[in-house]
């Protein structure tokens, strides 16, 4: 979105985005850097919703909070009972020496994949350490020995 000050033949600059979520009205202010003339572009709730649905940021305000971490638009847009766990601050489980030995027995080209699989499983299931016992539980849970 761009606006032009016809008086000064200059592209106006974004100043602020004031969105009232309750009414759905978004007011985006621009000013002319030459003469200081200000305008507001005002959208109705339907227009605000359309822009929000694009998952874009208007100024420093993010209608969709797409800059707010993974799946931000989905999380922001879901209404009602929705749930997720923000695990961004917690460390991955550590690997015990015995687990590392067991991993080392796997072919080299799959070790990265195997490590990630067990780490993810352990984390999801609340283990702070990946041990051979945890690896066995994960294998059973994921049906890795079937077929």
């Amino acid at each position: 979105m761009k606006f032009r000050c016809e008086e000064c033949q200059t592209t106006m600059e974004f100043v602020s985005n004031d969105t009232d979520r309750a009414s759905g009205v978004m007011a985006i202010q621009y000013s002319c850097p030459e003469c200081g003339h200000r305008i507001s572009m005002v959208t109705n709730p339907g227009e605000t919703q359309m822009v929000s649905s694009l998952g874009v940021t208007i100024g420093h305000e993010s209608l969709s909070e797409s800059a707010g971490g993974p799946m931000a638009q989905i999380r922001r847009s879901l209404d009602g009972d929705a749930a997720w766990t923000d695990d961004r601050g917690s460390p991955d489980p550590v690997w015990s020496e015995a687990a590392e030995k067991r991993l080392a027995a796997a072919p080299g080209f799959v070790q990265g994949m195997v490590r990630r699989l067990y780490t993810d499983w352990a984390k999801r299931n609340g283990y702070a350490e990946v041990s051979p016992a945890v690896m066995s539980k994960a294998r059973d849970d994921l049906g890795m020995s079937e077929m």
Binding site: M1, K2, F14, R21, A22, S23, G24, V25, I28, N44, P45, G46, T48, Q49, M50, V51, S52, S53, L54, G55, V56, T57, I58, G59, H60, S64, S66, G69, P70, M71, A72, Q73, I74, R75, R76, S77, L78, D79, G80, D81, A82, A83, W84, T85, D86, D87, R88, V110, M113, R116, L117, D120, W121, K123, R124, L142, G143, M144, E146, M147
Partner: protein
């Protein structure tokens, strides 16, 4: 900003305010697509399982194919693109796992054989929770205007924000209808291809024919056609349809209620009894798919 503030939440906010404000909507949409490409750089092949018609067994085939490919020592992910009727988490034994937001993106749920699953199901609290979207100013009755755009962006976020890691195959279980497929193609111009599923019914053949035409017009690579729920005593219309469309016919998967029953418990039938006719057909299909995508 002082040195003491470095690393604090306030520091991030101050840096944000120092940046020039962003209003370039088109530029942001282009950047969103670039983010999808970056994320999928570690995925060897992306395959859409599509039909156009509902009820032809796309989800069941997707779950069983994923399990079969993963059991061949492949790294497999499944993206459930059916936003309002998600079932991949159930069929792959990943139900009940909440979505976890990690530093590299959303961690997909872990299904059988280590298949990574992303689905709207992971966001929903209970069996009675439906997908409903918030709206500005209480304009729920006008939601048809913006819902398509929002849901296209759900698909984009599933692709771009999921920490898939390294995958050999990412299977996308498409919802009925041809429109979402076109969205996928716009997001993923280098899609590995689409696997089309039909049943023997004349209605399915008609809808799939149209979906194939739409996909071809949109520039999609169609890997082949599968006839699902095939009757043993009937040669079925799949081969003829594939020939008409000029695409490979990849086989028939016989109607097998037991395959569906086991998959509904979160253990795809190919893992429970690989010798069943339905399971065997899917395992052969997985082998053909690997060959085509090699």
């Amino acid at each position: 900003m002082t040195e003491e503030m470095e690393g604090t939440p306030a520091a991030g906010r101050i840096r944000e305010l120092d940046r020039p404000p962003v209003v370039d909507v088109l530029g942001q949409v282009v950047a969103q697509r670039a983010a999808v490409a970056r994320r999928l750089a570690s995925v060897r092949r992306v395959v859409a399982i599509a039909s156009g018609k509902g009820g032809v067994g796309k989800s069941l085939l997707t779950a069983n194919l994923a399990a079969a490919l993963a059991s061949n020592a492949g790294q497999v992910g499944v993206l459930d693109a059916d936003i309002h009727g998600p079932s991949a988490a159930l069929m792959l034994g990943a139900r009940g796992q909440q979505l976890m937001l990690g530093p590299e993106g959303a961690r997909p749920a872990l299904g059988v054989s280590g298949v990574r699953v992303i689905s709207m199901d992971l966001f929903l609290e209970g069996d009675d929770t439906a997908v409903r979207w918030r709206n500005y100013g209480g304009l729920a009755e006008d939601s048809f205007v913006w819902r398509g755009t929002l849901e296209a962006n759900v698909l984009r976020e599933f692709l771009a924000d999921t920490d898939w890691g390294v995958l050999d195959y990412l299977l996308i279980d498409m919802p009925p209808g041809a429109d979402r497929f076109e969205t996928l193609l716009r997001l993923l111009p280098d899609l590995g291809g689409a696997l089309l599923i039909t049943t023997p019914s004349a209605a399915s053949v008609l809808v799939v024919r149209r979906a194939a035409a739409a996909a071809q017009q949109a520039g999609a690579r169609i890997l082949g056609l599968v006839e699902n729920m095939a009757q043993a005593a009937d040669p079925g219309p799949g081969k003829g349809l594939a020939d008409d469309l000029g695409i490979p016919f990849l086989g028939r998967v016989p109607f097998d209620p037991e395959l569906g029953r086991s998959t509904d418990t979160g253990r795809p039938g190919v893992l429970i009894d690989p010798e069943r006719p339905g399971a065997r057909a899917i395992l052969e299909l997985a082998g053909r798919l690997e060959g085509i995508l090699a």
